[in-house]
């Protein structure tokens, strides 16, 4: 028997341990610092300039006149009320229908699920202004085609639809809102172990009862994020409201901000003062979301196995399929047909003029010397934004959900903040960031600055959607991988990434699409060489050549749709249960 030996155990001093940082901690701190700079600087500059009263180019003077001007306007209250009313109405309807659609597509035996899901995606990818004009062509109370056809019926007297109305605005927005709900919710709904539903039904709950009492509560992180996204986007919306609301005297909050920015010289002080409302709304929504999500668990992908058996719809299978198909065709095919039709018309919406059809629009656009450069810029900026977003948003979300980094709650809050800046002011805020801090000045005029700007703009969406799906993944999967000897990177690559791939596809696509459609940011930060297809379409529209602008918009949509299709084909083989594709 050997004699016991004494060993010297070295205990690390607490003070020393504090200063001895892990490489992972250093990297997370660096990530935190970069995000804080990119997000807080534009916001602070915007707030600061809300007190700056001097005209552009003159010596700055400071005061509260901008705030007084903004909130003294008696029409602000009515505009705010219209905005809130429209936002809540359309988001409520879109949420209910969107949850049902996501559940049907992701969890049931609905026929042609993949095709239906992609059809709804397409509705989200279509440009809003031509789509709105298409609905005007169909639903105008005086000359709308649908109204004209319906009035031929003996029992119809007068116009049935009027797109120039409150519900007209809601309807036109709904045609894209449904698409975004399906896009965001379906991947989350797929990450649900079917045994949870089976357990509920075996306890006597009906299919719908299981949906509302088991599935929906488990999906709340994704549902809440898509709701917050929808509400913020609704508050910012003004294009369709300008078109359909102004003629009936319905003004919204963002119209007021846009009006102030449109003055010459622009009135930035009151515009940015009005923009602070977004910060207040965001704070409220984020607080509510964190309060709900904070103390609950939403793990649906665990180490206990995973079943993807679809729920049977029984006798309702084909009737529900027809209903969903009609809805998909209405919100997608109708605008696509109208958009495509517009590209071949001499004057959009006019069938009775001499030679109403022409290929001249396509001929002229395809010969445009700036077309190829615009396409190239769009693809470069789009892919750059998508790729950067997928990597960095994924990292941020992972740190927030899975790490013990001390600043993760603050990092989570920071990732929301780009939505505190109205889209119409974001480009300006970033321009001030570039020139007043000079940190990013070396990028000015290059496509890299555009990628960075669009990456910041899309951050709230990308991080929060990724986070909501990460919350579904239980820790035991990674723990098992680590115990088996895998490094962090191996665990991330072989366990987390396959589960997250469908979500990353969505995040990447939305980033790509935002880049392809953005105008205000690119106008303020781009150069003559970095103009994209969105600006080319605007150039045609500005020159009164709306039909040619439609050609460019149609081409942009095709590029986005092809990218989406390729992403689905590539990513569809990855994910739990093949992702239901």
């Amino acid at each position: 028997m050997s004699e016991p030996t004494s060993e010297t155990v070295t205990v690390e001093s607490p003070r020393l341990r504090f200063f001895k940082l892990e490489p992972a901690t250093i990297l997370m701190a660096l990530l935190f610092g970069v995000v804080a700079f990119l997000v807080l600087t534009p916001l602070i500059l915007l707030l600061f300039n809300s007190f700056q009263l001097g005209r552009p180019g003159q010596v700055p003077t400071y005061g509260l006149d901008g705030w007084r001007q903004a909130f003294d306007d008696p029409s602000i209250v009515a505009a705010l009320w219209n905005t809130i009313s429209l936002a809540i109405t359309r988001q409520s309807i879109a949420l209910v229908i969107g949850v049902m659609l996501a559940w049907l597509i992701a969890r049931t035996d609905l026929p042609w699920k993949s095709g239906l899901e992609f059809t709804f995606w397409i509705s989200f990818f279509l440009p809003s202004l031509p789509v709105a004009l298409g609905w005007i062509l169909l639903l105008d109370d005086k000359f709308g085609l649908l109204n004209q056809w319906l009035q031929k019926l003996p029992f119809i007297d007068g116009a049935v639809f009027n797109v120039y109305s409150y519900w007209g605005i809601v309807w036109v927005h709904m045609t894209t809102s449904l698409g975004v709900k399906v896009l965001l919710l379906a991947p989350a709904f797929r990450n649900l172990d079917a045994t949870l539903e089976e357990s509920s039904r075996s306890c006597g709950a009906s299919t719908l009862g299981t949906l509302f009492r088991v599935v929906v509560p488990l999906m709340m992180p994704a549902i809440l994020v898509s709701t917050v996204l929808g509400l913020i986007r609704s508050m910012e919306a003004f294009e369709i409201e300008l078109l359909l609301g102004v003629p009936i005297g319905l003004f919204v909050y963002s119209t007021k901000i846009r009006d102030l920015v449109a003055y010459e010289p622009p009135e930035y002080a009151p515009a940015t003062a009005l923009g602070t409302m977004f910060l207040l709304v965001l704070l409220l929504l984020v607080f509510l979301q964190r309060w709900y999500v904070g103390k609950r668990m939403f793990r649906t992908v665990t180490g206990r196995g995973f079943s993807t058996r679809p729920v049977s719809l029984g006798k309702w299978r084909w009737p529900v399929f027809i209903l969903v198909l009609v809805l998909a065709i209405t919100v997608t095919l109708t605008p696509v047909i109208v958009l495509a039709m517009g590209t071949f018309m001499r004057a959009f919406g006019y069938f009775n003029i001499p030679d109403p059809w022409t290929v001249e629009n396509w001929h002229r656009v395809l010969q445009d010397p700036f077309l190829l450069q615009s396409v190239k810029n769009t693809v470069v900026v789009g892919i750059g934004t998508a790729a950067t977003g997928v990597v960095v948003y994924g990292l941020i979300a992972y740190v927030v959900v899975k790490s013990r980094f001390a600043g993760r709650a603050v990092l989570d809050f920071l990732s929301w903040l780009p939505w505190a800046i109205p889209g119409i002011l974001m480009g300006l805020a970033l321009l001030w960031t570039v020139f007043q801090t000079r940190v990013l000045l070396f990028l000015y005029g290059s496509v890299y600055l555009l990628v960075l700007a669009l990456f910041i703009k899309s951050m709230p969406f990308g991080v929060q959607i990724t986070k909501s799906v990460l919350l579904q993944i239980g820790p035991e999967l990674e723990e098992a991988a680590r115990i088996s000897g895998g490094s962090w990177l191996q665990c991330y690559r072989r366990v987390v990434l396959p589960i997250m791939t469908p979500t990353f596809i969505v995040v990447g696509l939305v980033g790509f699409m935002s880049a392809a459609r953005d105008i205000s940011t690119i106008v303020l930060l781009g150069s003559a060489q970095s103009r994209t297809m969105a600006l080319l379409a605007l150039d045609y529209a500005f020159g009164g050549q709306f039909e040619r602008g439609s050609v460019v918009a149609f081409m942009t949509s095709i590029i986005v749709i092809i990218t989406a299709l390729l992403a689905r084909i590539f990513g569809g083989k990855v994910g739990i249960g093949g992702g239901g594709h």
Binding site: L242, E264, I353, L441, S520, D539, A541
Partner: protein
């Protein structure tokens, strides 16, 4: 003999003076052009739109082989960008082509432009007889801004199937009960043709604020988008439209829509004159000073003015540029009210305030 010698001496003196003067501008031009070609590029900020882009880029490059870095945007988008750059000491632009509003309200007060006259070299540009009114109109305290295309604007637009234009011989005809609820207007509370039209009403001695108040009682329908304004007019949604982008209406007329513009010559009060986006200036501290001078001289030449005015649907201030591409009434009438000068700018706030009050916006 003395007289003969004097005559010969005077003739030689005249010939020598003429040859020196001619050589002076040609020499300067050759020098500037050679330096411009070495610079190789000129940076131009101009209005958004394919017609402006096409007019202001390729023709210049084809003629001189100097690339044009053209950036098109609206004035309200351009001014904050340029102002921010200038404050940071970044001088990225050579030539400005836009409306007078941005120039007079932002750029000139900020000292962004250089005086124009020293940059003009070509006799076809400097000769006052080549310009309507006896010279190129230049604005600003130091002559920074040249007005290239002041033209008579169309202000009242009608559906040809619903309205006989002969009914309208004065703006006061619009106050008749038969037009109540049947007129749309481009929203005059925001910068644009609607605001220009209401500024014209405000400044006209026979119309003024009282006319605006009376017109507001006609249940006017507000619109913001120029394309839908014209389309709605063509569809007959309303028979009359006041103050829209008349170059868009001209295009729609050519497309075959049943719309037209009331000839301002038949209106007792006429209409206003505006250059739209046809004003130009030279930025200070240009990155390519010689290319900028060549570009400016080219832009004001008959060749460039013909292309620009034709593509944009404007009328050039040059007397040697054809105007047959547009309505004959577009040539400015002497004494017409200008809605682009400092007087109009100074009254805009009062106009907007009045319109907001009477339209309850």
């Amino acid at each position: 003999m003395q007289k003969l010698l004097l005559f010969v001496f005077a003739s030689l003196l005249v010939l020598w003076t003429a040859s020196v003067g001619e050589t002076a501008w040609e020499q300067e031009w050759e020098k500037v052009l050679a330096a411009a070609k070495k610079e190789g590029v000129v940076a131009v900020s101009g209005p958004a739109g394919v017609p402006s882009r096409d007019s202001l880029t390729k023709p210049f490059t084809d003629k001189y082989g100097i690339k044009v870095d053209f950036f098109g945007a609206s004035g309200r988008e351009l001014s904050p960008r340029i102002m921010t750059e200038l404050r940071a000491g970044q001088f990225n632009w050579d030539v400005f082509v836009h409306g007078t509003t941005t120039a007079l309200t932002v750029m000139i007060p900020a000292g962004a432009f250089a005086p124009l006259k020293p940059a003009l070299i070509l006799p076809e540009v400097t000769d006052p007889n080549k310009w309507r009114g006896g010279g190129l109109e230049v604005m600003g305290p130091n002559g920074e801004l040249a007005v290239m295309t002041p033209f008579q604007r169309g202000t009242v637009f009608y559906n040809t199937k619903l309205v006989d234009p002969k009914q309208i011989t004065s703006y006061k005809d619009l106050l008749k009960p038969e037009w109540k609820g049947k007129m749309a207007i481009d929203d005059p509370t925001k910068p644009g043709p609607g605001q220009a039209t209401f500024t014209f009403f405000y400044l006209h001695p026979q119309l003024g604020p009282d006319f605006i108040r009376a017109l507001a009682k006609q249940d006017l329908v507000l619109h913001r988008d120029y394309t839908t304004q014209s389309d709605d007019l063509g569809h007959g949604r309303f028979p009359l439209l006041i103050g829209t982008a008349d170059f868009i209406v001209e295009r729609k007329i050519k497309q075959g829509l049943p719309i037209n513009i009331v000839d301002p010559r038949q209106l007792k009060e006429g209409s206003d004159v505006s250059p739209a986006n046809g004003a130009t200036a030279l930025y200070k501290n240009t990155p390519h000073p010689n290319a900028a001078r060549v570009y400016l001289n080219w832009l004001l030449s008959p060749e460039a003015q013909t292309i620009f005015s034709r593509n944009m649907g404007y009328v050039s201030a040059r007397v040697d540029v054809p105007t047959d591409h547009t309505f004959p009434w577009r040539v400015p009438q002497p004494g017409a009210i200008k809605t682009y000068d400092e007087k109009a700018m100074n009254n805009k706030k009062a106009v907007v305030s009045l319109v907001q009050q009477v339209l309850r916006r």
